[in-house]
């Protein structure tokens, strides 16, 4: 699969058609998806949408920087008229009534949306095993998980179904599957991309971001998606901020290495891959700065209070009355309980119970309020660290892709796989996973983090790293 930049350049210059690019994607899906279960559906209008792009180009129109680029959406983003299930039974027959802001912006830039990707139900999970529609499979070893929750999106890019797929990241749901599948995954700064039309999971943490093979492609699609949107009051006007700086290369870049992310007992091979990546920066003239993020070890605990509380609240809208699966009981209460009990899967119910418990009378101060204060401490750690460095380098995932079923029975062990990623969501900073090697034939991800709204430093560091390594060119 070519990069988005190459496809768009060729389509804009008339060297190839959007239709041919989309057909290539659809053919790859046709031959590969049965094995991988990455996509839950293909959009029937894709070919016609591509032809329309070709017609407009033939008429001399500028159709945008993503001309003819096939893009896969996560199944929690609304595309008008298309099924949108969030990986859940409760929405198995739900069709989106309008377009998400990202849907509109991608189309306005000439992209062609081709299908919807599998995910953990309502984006809760780290493996896609919580999907009502069966797990996606890792293209590097189909007996293993691709990570999650945006696992289907990651597989779609890693398997060459499309050069770009969108995911949502609440605690690592873009970066962790990107790491496990050997591709680039970016969680932008909170407030960078509008969530209007994204099914809300945890509203103080959720962000939409891209999966790509190259950092250049991630930067390109971000230039289209980002920016203020009156339909999402959390979006910041500083949406164009990253265009200000255009420094290239690693010379003079200050790379922070947090000691708390490289502890005894961690996977030695992952540690080595990540430290080798840091050494590449040093060789090219970057300054390596040892840093400390002392509150980091509390991040996961804070996350598993805040996330379930907000999820339990957001999922309150699924009541069996207004939309989605409905199971009628003798009373209204029974209709609620049956619709939700039958419509939600086990993990979603677990988080609703947990979130309801920690926000119930007498517990809310001890849990949610406490965790929100710990967020401030975590953010202060990062603020302090970023006085001495421009980017922070760390592992994305504490483990390689694991066997399907391995962690499924133990919720806490599954939660621990988010240990390196949740901090960026809690501190609202941008973070990106870039492929940095292989262990036993399975990909390892380097996580880069930066100051709020400084995606530019992530692009700079990521582009440099990909220019001196070839991990991202390998395909399963």
């Amino acid at each position: 699969m070519e990069t988005a930049i190459n496809i768009a350049t060729d389509v804009r210059s008339g060297k190839r058609t959007a239709e041919s690019a989309v057909r290539e994607s659809l053919d790859a899906i046709e031959s590969g998806n049965e094995k991988l279960n990455a996509l839950l559906g293909v959009f029937a209008s894709a070919i016609e949408d591509a032809r329309e792009i070709d017609r407009r180009i033939a008429a001399g129109e500028d159709v945008g920087v993503l001309a003819g680029v096939p893009i896969v959406m996560k199944d929690n983003m609304l595309v008008k008229g298309e099924r949108c299930s969030a990986g859940s039974r409760i929405l198995e027959n739900y069709d989106a009534p309008y377009d998400a802001t990202v849907t509109k912006r991608l189309r306005a830039a000439g992209a062609v949306l081709i299908g919807r990707a599998n995910m953990d139900e309502f984006a809760m999970g780290s493996s896609t095993e919580n999907s009502h529609y069966g797990p996606s499979r890792n293209p590097w070893d189909v007996s293993r998980v691709p990570g999650g929750s945006s696992g289907g999106s990651a597989v779609a890019v890693a398997a060459g179904f499309a050069p770009i797929a969108l995911g949502s990241d609440t605690g690592g749901s873009i970066r962790q599957p990107a790491a496990l599948c050997g591709i680039v995954g970016l969680k932008p700064t909170y407030g960078r991309v509008s969530r209007h039309g994204l099914m809300a999971l945890s509203s103080s943490l959720d962000q939409i971001g891209p999966f790509t093979r190259t950092v250049e492609d991630a930067e390109l699609v971000m230039s289209v998606m980002q920016g203020e949107d009156e339909m999402d009051a959390t979006t910041a006007a500083d949406g164009e901020g990253s265009k200000a700086e255009r420094i290239e290369g690693a010379k003079g870049l200050r790379v922070g290495v947090p000691k708390e992310y490289f502890v005894d007992g961690m996977d030695e091979n992952i540690k080595k891959s990540v430290l080798d990546a840091v050494a590449e920066f040093e060789r090219a003239g970057a300054e390596i700065v040892p840093i400390s993020l002392p509150t980091a070890e509390y991040a996961l605990a804070a996350y598993y209070v805040i996330q379930p509380c907000e999820a339990a609240s957001n999922l309150g809208r699924f009541d069996g009355i207004r939309f989605g699966y409905s199971s009628e009981g003798q009373t209204l209460l029974e209709t609620y309980e049956r619709s939700r009990g039958e419509g939600f899967g086990a993990e979603t119910q677990r988080r609703i119970i947990l979130g309801t418990f920690v926000s119930s009378a007498g517990y809310s101060d001890a849990f949610y309020k406490k965790a929100s204060k710990v967020r401030t401490l975590i953010k202060r750690d990062f603020d302090e660290a970023f006085k001495r460095c421009d980017v922070i380098a760390a592992p994305t995932s504490p483990s390689l892709a694991w066997a399907i079923g391995e962690k499924f029975a133990d919720p806490l062990s599954m939660y621990l796989s988010d240990i390196y990623t949740v901090s960026a969501n809690l501190a609202t900073i941008p973070a990106m996973s870039v492929p940095c090697g292989f262990v036993d034939g399975l990909p390892v991800g380097l996580q880069l983090m930066a100051r709020p709204f400084d995606e530019a430093s992530l692009y700079r560091a990521g582009k440099f790293y990909q220019s001196v390594t070839d991990h991202h060119l390998k395909t399963a």
């Binding site: 509390y298 009541d319 309980e337 677990r350 947990l354």
Partner: protein, 100 residues
């Protein structure tokens, strides 16, 4: 210690019907997760403010004006109602048993 009664009570508050045979398992899982998150109590947060939006945005206002909805989206929303009468959402009776 999380009891089965607590789990049943929370499930009722959350409007979730959980199978009786899963209550004990859910209590044990909740216990294990709460045991882990209890480490938050080790931190002194006495004078620390809570964080919601990292950029410090708060009270984002807009004019209080109805913008209407485009008719196509309206029809699609209505079409997604599980039960309806014409364009109206049909809701079960709130205060009485449905015995008809």
């Amino acid at each position: 210690m999380i009891t089965n009664d607590q789990v049943s009570h929370i499930a009722r508050l959350a409007r979730l019907r959980i199978d009786p045979e899963n209550v004990t398992k859910t209590a044990a899982e909740l216990e294990s997760i709460l045991g882990y998150v209890a480490k938050l109590q080790e931190l002194d947060t006495e004078s620390v403010p809570e964080l919601a939006h990292g950029d410090g945005l708060s009270n984002v206002f807009r004019a209080d004006m109805a913008n209407g909805i485009d008719q196509d989206a309206r029809h699609r929303v209505i079409a997604a109602f599980p039960h309806r009468e014409g364009d109206l959402l049909e809701v079960p009776a709130v205060f009485q048993d449905r015995t008809e």
